[in-house]
């Protein structure tokens, strides 16, 4: 069962409008831009993205948001100012959660853990039912539901739910035909977790290697979490302009 694919669009077209998608990357580091851009090119819309950041430019997540393809974003640190314009204008919903909660929820969903109690965010407006998930006519619309609270060892905790996303999008450095992956330095970040969270997981890699060439002790994520591997990613050049000059909204 070789998981290498040559036609990215053919396989990624399995993503349906309205799908939930867990995405790797921290800012632009380790972000699967080829996969994200292909979602735009394929015209996918009404997406629910689980991703830590929007990033600071109009590639990848930023492009999907600015093209109006994202219904809801669950993340911790969107950053891109234009994302907030969309949010306050009522064109995208924001489920804002602590970064560690996002990572743990992705892992839990992939690990069959339905929910867990964490102290992160307890007794704050991200858990007390007052944070606006959406705006309508310039005023708060839907509020994030209050989270179930329980005290353990004298400290408040909140119940957070595992994320089982329809799809996972991941960027890795190396993959073998079984889908075994290696990541490079801090580009690892959310990628193994997005792969675990996705019911069907796509990976873009910089380098394809032969079966058996990765030491079993040195595989960061086993291929059992991976469905389709495409070689599209190139290392991001260090001199990449941080913000694209032109933007077509759509």
């Amino acid at each position: 069962m070789n998981k290498f694919r040559t036609d990215l669009h053919e396989h990624l077209d399995a993503v349906w409008d309205g799908a939930s998608i867990a995405v790797g990357g921290f800012g632009s580091s380790g972000r699967p831009d080829a996969l994200l851009n292909a979602l735009s090119d394929l015209g996918k819309k009404d997406l629910h993205l689980y991703v830590n950041n929007v990033g600071d430019d109009f590639t990848g997540i930023g492009r999907l948001v600015m093209e109006g393809r994202v219904r809801r974003l669950t993340g911790s640190f969107p950053v891109l100012p234009e994302f907030y314009d969309e949010y306050f204008a009522g064109r995208v919903e924001l489920e804002l959660i602590p970064q560690g909660t996002l990572a743990e929820r992705m892992r839990a969903g992939g690990a069959g853990i339905a929910a867990f109690f964490t102290p992160s965010g307890a007794e704050t407006m991200l858990s007390d039912g007052t944070f606006p998930a959406s705006y309508s006519g310039g005023t708060p619309g839907e509020l994030l539901p209050a989270k179930e609270e329980r005290v353990f060892d004298g400290r408040a905790h909140v119940l957070e739910y595992g994320i089982k996303a329809d799809f996972g999008l991941v960027k890795a450095q190396q993959a073998d035909p079984k889908g075994n992956l290696r990541f490079h330095l801090s580009a690892r970040n959310f990628n193994p977790l997005a792969a675990m969270s996705g019911r069907t997981t796509f990976v873009e890699v910089e380098r394809l290697v032969d079966t058996g060439s990765l030491d079993p002790d040195d595989i960061h994520l086993p291929g059992v979490f991976v469905d389709h591997v495409v070689m599209t990613a190139a290392p991001i050049p260090a001199d990449l302009p941080r913000r694209a000059a032109s933007l077509q909204k759509g």
């Binding site: 602590p98 560690g100 102290p119 992160s120 330095l185 801090s186 193994p192 260090a238």
Partner: protein, 223 residues
């Protein structure tokens, strides 16, 4: 009670860099530390030479080094501020779930953060100014999990209003989490839940501090 509603005269205490230096003097050899943005980023350059302090970055780096030389940046090695960084020998990479397992599980010694406000009970507000763009990152995990949360900040805001307050008016990052506060004027510890002034900066009197602090606190400054 020392609440003040009128702006106090400006006085000169520590610079932002000196706040970082003062905090760095309290770091213990062998500590593993997470740094927030702002004043905390100046801490590493002031760590005394006889102490080894290991820096953690929430995106999965243990053993963060200084900014790389121009041309030596690696897009696959960036810090929590998404800027190119480096690693020291003996460093390790983990995924984001393990990184926050380290943070939330109490395996760091200290997290060093800036603040909008700190209350007399050690409540921290540092993630959101209502009306602006909300973003939280790892701040709520860091304060929930790290045994020691050290804040470094200006003693008053740019309008001269105290940032050490009875109750935070900005949305909380965590309740009762702050253990120390380093400002341009003074050092406070939270001891058994009680905010305590333990040190004034050179040329600053306890009275100077009192006038610029809206929180109740105990004075325990050596004579």
């Amino acid at each position: 009670m020392s609440m003040t509603n009128t702006e106090s005269p400006r006085i000169t205490g520590r610079t932002r860099d000196e706040i970082a230096q003062r905090l760095a003097a309290d770091l213990v050899d062998g500590y593993t530390v997470n740094l927030g943005v702002g004043i905390p980023l100046a801490v590493p350059q002031h760590i005394p030479a006889d102490r080894e302090v290991f820096l953690q970055s929430e995106n999965g780096i243990l053993g963060l080094g200084p900014a790389p030389e121009p041309g030596a940046e690696d897009p696959d090695l960036t810090n929590a501020g998404k800027q190119p960084t480096s690693m020291i020998p003996g460093g390790a990479i983990v995924d984001s779930a393990t990184s926050f397992a380290i943070i939330r599980g109490g395996h760091l010694d200290v997290t060093i953060l800036g603040a909008l406000q700190v209350s007399e009970a050690g409540d921290l507000a540092n993630w959101y100014v209502p009306g602006r763009n909300p973003a939280v990152g790892g701040a709520m995990d860091l304060v929930a999990g790290t045994p020691q949360v050290w804040v470094c900040m200006e003693h008053v805001d740019r309008h001269g209003q105290p940032k050490l307050v009875r109750e935070c008016t900005f949305p909380l990052t965590g309740r009762g989490v702050v253990t120390r506060v380093y400002t341009d004027l003074a050092v406070f510890h939270v001891i058994d839940g009680v905010l305590t002034l333990v040190e004034c900066a050179a040329g600053i009197t306890p009275e100077d501090v009192r006038l610029r602090t809206a929180a109740d606190y105990i004075e325990a400054v050596p004579a």
